[in-house]
């Protein structure tokens, strides 16, 4: 019984939880969400640019996109965050006077997720039937408008589940920015748990952090499944049996 009690105390120390949870709500959760959402948005923009470069007819653009993607996808996230945070931090400090590593954390996460999202978008855009571009061009749209109005929207729709998965990964990877040494008010869920765990020598704050992450990621996972099912089966709509029925049927008077 002692062992069970000891385990319960290690992982579920209610006093420590009570101490850490309000702080997670007040500081950790908003910071995690800001890191994930802002770098998600910037990463999506980078990804779209990379995808369009990747399918461009310009060989130089394709080459740049390829090299960028290979490097950023090939590195461990922790290394990218450290290198960008510590490597470019001093330059940014000199240019802007800001000493906060927060923008560097967002930059690192954005650049990283941009590489993944670029590949997601590219595969989606390339999966759109060639006849779509042809039909749009035949109507008189140029290449750019055809991509923007016809091809890209269909490509994105197909990869929405993969895109949300990438956003889930981003929420998790945002925990790595603790390595840049954030100010107290900038700390996200993981670091707030880690701080108290280090002070108390007890793991309960980590468990609290875990619950916060799961509360963010599990609904998103189910959201992915929902979109996926929706994309597979489409919106339910009544279907006329054939042309003849439409002419004489109740659809005809509309």
């Amino acid at each position: 019984m002692d062992i069970l009690k000891q385990l319960a105390d290690t992982f579920f120390n209610w006093q420590l939880m009570g101490e850490v949870i309000p702080k997670m709500f007040a500081v950790g959760l908003p910071n995690t969400i800001i890191l994930a959402v802002v770098s998600g948005i910037i990463g999506t923009a980078i990804g779209m640019l990379l995808a369009l470069m990747g399918i461009s007819r310009n060989a130089a653009a394709r080459w740049v996109a390829r090299v960028y993607t290979d490097i950023l996808r090939g590195l461990p996230p922790v290394l990218t965050i450290l290198v960008i945070g510590f490597g470019f931090g001093p330059i940014v400090r000199e240019l802007t006077g800001s000493t906060s590593p927060y923008p560097m954390a967002i930059a690192a996460l954005s650049l990283m997720s941009g590489a993944y999202i670029g590949e997601i978008f590219r595969s989606g855009i390339q999966s759109v039937d060639k006849g779509q571009l042809e039909a749009s061009r035949a109507l008189g749209f140029g290449y750019g408008p055809s991509m923007r109005l016809v091809v890209v929207p269909q490509g994105i729709r197909r990869v929405l589940p993969a895109l949300v998965n990438q956003f889930i990964a981003l929420i998790k990877e945002s925990s790595l920015v603790f390595m840049l040494g954030l100010l107290a008010s900038e700390r996200e869920i993981f670091q707030i748990g880690k701080d108290l765990a280090a002070n108390s020598g007890n793991l309960s704050p980590y468990v609290a952090a875990a619950i916060f992450y799961l509360a963010l990621t599990i609904p998103l996972t189910h959201f992915v499944n929902w979109i996926d099912a929706r994309l597979r089966t489409g919106r339910p709509e009544k279907k006329e049996p054939d042309d003849a029925a439409a002419v004489v049927g109740k659809g005809a008077q509309a």
Binding site: D129, G131, Q132, E134, A135, S136, R137, A138, L139, G140, F141, G142, P145, L149, V150, P153, Q154, R157, G234, R235, E237, K238, K239, E240, D242, D243, A246, V247, G251, A252, Q253, A254
Partner: protein, 245 residues
């Protein structure tokens, strides 16, 4: 007394190669204003490619294309394509847009009509093909025949001077072919200038004013349908007709 502001179309000595593959080897085709030319021939003879060259989806290596007697090779190809409607074998409707949006997209973005104007014009076009009641459906919820009629409405909405049909009925179930062919025949009667690449010999014979038989990238024989179908001169056309009829 034509309903359409259609024009004549000519292709002169068109050559096109993909690498070492010489797909079109000096094609001449003249379609007078308000007439329908059908292009027949075995698969791989270059018929569909010829259509794509004539609206410059593919640029020819050599030759000239004239719309209303004027060369269009120096024009902006996007503007040229607004004057030529095209209907595809696989319909190629935009699946992420509703039926009426498929028809109104080019009206809004290219002819710069307001949303309401574009919609009401698109609904009129859908009325002509008998599908106004499907305006707010998605293409995926329509039968193949209905989808192809929407595709025709989409092309007509731009008020083209010429219409291209690229095997427009080949992907349709047999019972749906008739409706689409009837619509095409109506357009032909209404005075639209049309180039119809088809395997429907009945349509070619009964509706078109001229028939062009292509094989291996050249025009083997061309003339009025009666002449080609009843007295084919070349062995290649005789062989083709005995295979398909």
């Amino acid at each position: 007394m034509s309903e359409f502001a259609s024009g004549s179309l000519s292709a002169r000595n068109i050559h096109l190669s993909f690498g070492s593959n010489h797909v079109l080897r000096g094609i001449d085709l003249h379609v007078p204003q308000g007439t329908t030319a059908s292009v027949i021939g075995p698969s791989g003879s270059g018929k569909s490619t010829l259509l794509r060259v004539m609206n410059r989806l593919i640029e020819p290596d050599q030759g000239d294309i004239l719309l209303d007697g004027r060369s269009v090779l120096k024009d902006n190809p996007d503007e040229l394509r607004r004057r030529i409607g095209m209907v595809f074998q696989q319909f190629n409707l935009f699946p992420h847009k509703t039926v009426v949006e498929n028809v109104s997209l080019a009206l809004r973005k290219l002819r710069k009509l307001s949303k309401e104007e574009a919609r009401s014009e698109a609904l009129e076009q859908l009325d002509l093909v008998g599908l106004r009641h499907k305006a707010d459906s998605r293409p995926a919820n329509l039968s193949g025949g209905q989808q192809q009629r929407v595709a025709i409405a989409r092309a007509l909405a731009m008020k083209p001077e010429v219409m291209f049909f690229d095997e427009a009925t080949s992907a349709l179930d047999p019972e749906l072919v008739k409706g689409v062919l009837a619509l095409m025949a109506d357009l032909a009667k209404g005075g639209m200038t049309m180039v119809v690449v088809t395997h429907e010999m009945g349509f070619s014979r009964n509706v078109s004013d001229a028939v062009t038989f292509m094989d291996a990238g050249v025009v083997v024989e061309s003339g009025p349908p009666e002449q080609l179908f009843t007295e084919p001169k070349t062995d290649r056309l005789k062989g083709f007709l005995s295979d398909v009829l």
